[in-house]
Symmetry: C2
Subunit: 321 residues, 2 copies
């Protein structure tokens, strides 16, 4: 949670000069989002989010992200809609950073999602995959299967500081996944980071999906596995089968998984767990111990990986097939 | 900038059960305020700020702060208005912390205030002092003259790490102020922290004053001195006389300073500079060098103190008398 770049009134006036939003009525930095600086913006024209893209985001990817949000919101998905300026663009610069304005979505993210929330997020992910089908943009997954060995190299030497034996466990899993990873599954646009803090609810109703800055083109069922891992485990590390059942049932109410996807699902879930274990491990080892922002615990995802290593089939996760 | 305490949906529902605000439509942590956790809250009834009071705020002071905001807003000042719950109280508890809801004020704080802004803040401070006149609450200034020696004791041994000779300079100034501090000046409710980030503007119009959590009972002209120091110096450390003139003129359009206040003003300005130099010095020496939140530079306020040590009379600051 952070605002990395301060926006002053002169920067803002110059940036908003290209937009038809009227006067600025309020601007407040938001303590959410770890990659970019986000401001709540109230103007005559309504409520918006102003995002300044910080160094961890590759500027060349921004047209993909903004084009995707525009495509998805144009196809009925509740997600932030980029606001175009008078020149027809959705991307500008403010305070030296690339920046965009998107519509503000109502809702609050759920710290303790219920079974019903899991059904709703499954359905929303299905809708995202369906709405994304006609999107022409392409972006390879920079954090997919091929990227994992290099991520591991960044952490390998010190992984055992986090838990003795961890480096060997990960090396073994990487070898298994390289050999077992499914090919030729249906691909398309995936969110790739649909964690609870990226899904908004008003009461029990899902009101929107946010933060498309890991979105890319990859296997749709891999996205399903990422989302299942993020929503259907309890905070004590146990898997909640009722949540799994609700999640799959929500997803399949929109898009049925193919037989090949169902058969490959446990491998996908292992890969999805390893991907977050690896990025968290790298962050964990690279943040000073006294820093005020603490990185997320990599062992949470190592635990999910171990769980899936014991899983016999997706049926045990709640996929009735 | 921070959110220290996470609020989950169960905590929020239980807390809001005592209020008539309708459904929660949005809740977002705000990256402003260094003492408390602040959330932007949108409910059926409108836009609000939910504040959780963290450990640096003494819970026994909260009725004073909330009562003051209610009094001031009831007397026409644009400041956050505490929302009373069904039991008639404005203070509750959420996630283990004392908490209150206040109305959301439009506006953006000015990173580079203009001369016109200085006139507006002077006038607003005059209005605050006038509106506060009938407030029955009393709170001694915990960071006033009597507190400075103890603050200095916390920093004395290491002050010269910040600048060689600083400890001796401060000791000398403390002795001077103890001897020269004016008595019997008009007292009342003061804001005590009316820096630019606590004053909101929509365009060039001042839209509100916020953050009353240093407010207390003290000399009104000391508050004027704090505010002058915060608004009328440029970022290079120079004093801007045009801003000083505009500031005093704005203040005196509401409340004329007495002759005694004017004669004592330079001493008050020295004390006001020393007070912020001391608290910043203590913070500076107590925050780990690698922390992601950097404390404010104490030398900015040491520089303002040195400037006032050279000032002959308040006339040089823009007080035409």
């Amino acid at each position: 949670m952070a605002v990395y770049t301060e926006v002053n009134e002169a920067d803002l006036a110059s940036f908003l000069g290209d937009y038809d939003l009227g006067h600025v009525l309020a601007l407040k930095g938001i303590a959410e989002g770890v990659e970019n600086s986000n401001y709540f913006l109230h103007a005559d024209a309504g409520y918006f989010i102003l995002t300044l893209y910080e160094k961890r985001v590759d500027e060349r990817d921004l047209p993909f992200f903004l084009g995707l949000m525009e495509h998805l919101s144009g196809h009925g998905l509740n997600c932030p809609q980029p606001v175009r300026n008078r020149h027809g663009g959705a991307l500008g610069r403010i305070a030296g950073r690339p920046a965009a304005i998107v519509t503000f979505l109502e809702g609050m993210w759920r710290r303790s999602p219920s079974v019903r929330c899991c059904a709703a997020v499954g359905e929303a992910l299905g809708n995202l995959h369906r709405a994304g089908a006609g999107f022409a943009g392409y972006r390879p997954n920079a954090l997919g299967l091929e990227a994992w060995p290099a991520l591991f190299d960044e952490a390998r030497a010190r992984a055992d500081e986090v838990r003795p034996g961890l480096a060997a466990e990960i090396a073994k899993e990487l070898a298994y996944l390289a050999e077992s990873w499914p090919r030729d599954l249906p691909e398309g646009v995936i969110h790739a980071d649909l964690f609870p803090d990226n899904v908004l609810f008003v009461g029990d109703e899902l009101s929107g999906l946010i933060d498309f800055y890991f979105a890319c083109t990859d296997e749709l069922s891999y996205d399903v596995a990422i989302c299942l891992n993020a929503w259907c485990f309890e905070s004590d590390g146990s898997f909640n089968t009722a949540k799994g059942l609700a999640f799959f049932s929500g997803y399949e109410s929109v898009r049925k998984l193919t037989g090949a996807e169902a058969r490959a699902f446990v491998v996908l879930a292992r890969g999805a767990a390893l991907r977050f274990a690896l990025t968290r491990l790298v962050d964990w080892l690279n943040v000073p111990a006294v820093a005020l922002v603490h990185p997320k615990d990599p062992l949470e995802y190592v635990g999910k990986l171990c769980f899936h290593q014991q899983t016999g089939s997706a049926r045990e996760l709640g996929l009735l097939r």
